[in-house]
């Protein structure tokens, strides 16, 4: 029983990986007409990826999904909106503020801004600029999860909020300094790590299934969307503030 479950997980993981291997092999052999270098490395690497994916999915089912759902249930049962919103904000802020991808993007953005002469290219001012960017993004993700949770509770339709958000992004794109726009768009993408996504999804779906009158499908999703939308607005706002 356990063995057959494990085999199924491994088979799924192989299916997940196959397209990448096929694409690389096709271009290497047919288009670039080169032999595959380091076949051994490629094979061990693929085995590690397959084992890792299988383990990850097993861990999702056992750990992250139940954790997100039980937190949602416990917080809903406590009945305190305040603590639920505090939890939502803290979850978004704390998982984002020290995210390595975000630190890298912020440092890169500071370097580019220093080169272009937008800010003082001294180390202290670069660091302050990068920290400011990181804080804006982390704060906006916290706020995004908070708004998203509030939306699930109140039952606001997601599309009005998102369309409103996109309208703001489009307006700000026109007025924001050109140098910040690309970074702002990318900041929306790097905010949610592979561990945060399942937890936040389980939280939203869990809340929507314990609150009466909410459908998990219609109301439970959407938290990630807010978490990728708000950082764009905040980073562009930060750019307008700093570059004046």
């Amino acid at each position: 029983m356990i063995v057959s479950l494990l085999l199924k997980k491994l088979r799924d993981a192989v299916a997940d990986l196959t397209p990448i291997v096929l694409v690389i092999a096709f271009f290497q052999i047919v288009v670039l007409r080169q032999h595959l270098p380091q076949v051994e490395e490629l094979l061990t690497g693929s085995l590690l990826v397959v084992a890792g994916l299988a383990l990850f999915v097993q861990g999702l089912e056992m750990g992250l999904f139940p954790l997100g759902e039980s937190m949602a249930r416990a917080l809903a049962a406590k009945g305190s909106l305040f603590w639920l919103l505090v939890f939502a904000f803290a979850l978004g802020f704390s998982t984002t503020v020290a995210e390595p991808a975000l630190i890298a993007v912020a440092a890169e953005a500071a370097r580019v801004a220093g080169q272009e002469g937008l800010i003082d290219p001294g180390a202290a001012s670069l660091e302050q600029y990068a920290l400011g960017l990181r804080m804006s993004v982390a704060f906006s993700v916290g706020l995004a999860i908070l708004i998203g949770v509030l939306r699930i509770i109140r039952g606001w339709p997601v599309h009005y909020l998102i369309i409103g958000g996109y309208a703001v992004v489009m307006l700000m794109t026109i007025f924001a300094p050109k140098e910040i726009v690309g970074i702002a768009y990318d900041a929306g993408g790097v905010t949610t790590s592979t561990i945060t996504v399942p937890l936040v999804t389980a939280l939203g779906v869990g809340l929507a299934s314990v609150i009466r009158g909410r459908s998990p499908l219609v109301d439970g999703f959407g938290l990630i969307a807010f978490a990728s939308l708000l950082p764009m607005i905040f980073v562009m706002g930060y750019g307008m503030l700093v570059f004046g």
């Binding site: 997940d16 990448i20 490629l42 990826v49 084992a51 990850f56 406590k78 999804t201």
Partner: protein, 263 residues
């Protein structure tokens, strides 16, 4: 070789554990001070958490060891002027039609990496469970992957042709807004989420390498300005493809329903 492997493993494990740390602290603090009751099946949950961290570590280690280096080399080779124009020739102005293999590579690698994206696997799993099976995991993942494939392919075309990023994004958002008004309401939130999850561990490193490589070799492009923005394409087009798929299925259902009613 073995020592290097162990070193790599340890450093990725540290990085992944660091991602979990704020979650552990937050949940622990809430259980202790606010909720004051234990998490059900605590041992199972903790074991699951260990699996997630270990699994992700092995996954990233495997990617970094084998697939990323090769992907980066190939992105560089495909965007190399010698490959595109033939050895010995060079062009002062980029001719967008000479880059056919690049667009194809962008589309295929975008599709393939999205299929292996762990965050998307998690969201598809939940969507399948919550929709009582009407949304199939593979159906959603393939639709999202097609969106990413088209988005990244268009993104490389933008870099080659040098057209401004914000024009594409503005038009894309307009399409999303119009679609939102007409798409079935049950798919809207999921479609938006699909846009956000496509760009994490697998897609970003390969796609960024392709973007920067192109911007560095295409004549007249500046890597600092033109290399970015592929990520934005990769998160915009899945929203369009997921809503589009839902629209097509619901229109089809309406059409066949009507026809059966007429007969």
């Amino acid at each position: 070789m073995v020592a290097g492997f162990v070193n790599n493993f340890a450093s990725i494990l540290m990085a992944t554990s660091r991602d979990v740390l704020p979650i552990i602290l937050l949940v622990f603090a809430f259980q202790l001070f606010v909720l004051r009751r234990p998490i059900p099946h605590l041992r199972r949950v903790v074991l699951g958490g260990v699996y997630v961290v270990l699994g992700l570590t092995l996954f990233l280690l495997g990617l970094e060891k084998a697939l990323f280096p090769l992907g980066r080399i190939m992105a560089a080779q495909l965007s190399d002027p010698a490959f595109i124009h033939g050895a010995g020739e060079s062009a002062a102005v980029a001719d967008w039609s000479a880059y056919g293999w690049v667009y194809l590579f962008a589309a295929m690698i975008g599709f393939a990496t999205t299929i292996a994206e762990p965050s998307l696997i998690a969201v598809a799993y939940k969507a399948h469970e919550v929709s009582a099976g009407t949304i199939s995991q593979w159906g959603l993942r393939i639709t999202v992957a097609l969106g990413v494939a088209f988005g990244i392919s268009l993104g490389t075309f933008r870099i080659v042709s040098g057209t401004p990023l914000y024009m594409y994004i503005l038009v894309g958002y307009l399409v999303v807004i119009v679609q939102t008004m007409f798409a079935p309401k049950s798919i809207v939130a999921l479609a938006y989420d699909s846009g956000g999850v496509t760009t994490s561990t697998v897609t970003v490193p390969l796609v960024a390498a392709l973007g920067l490589g192109l911007a560095a070799t295409v004549p007249g492009r500046n890597p600092a300005l033109d290399g970015f923005g592929l990520i934005a394409f990769a998160s915009l087009f899945p929203i369009i493809s997921v809503m589009g798929y839902a629209q097509i299925t619901s229109l089809r259902a309406k059409y066949t329903g009507k026809r059966q009613g007429d007969e």
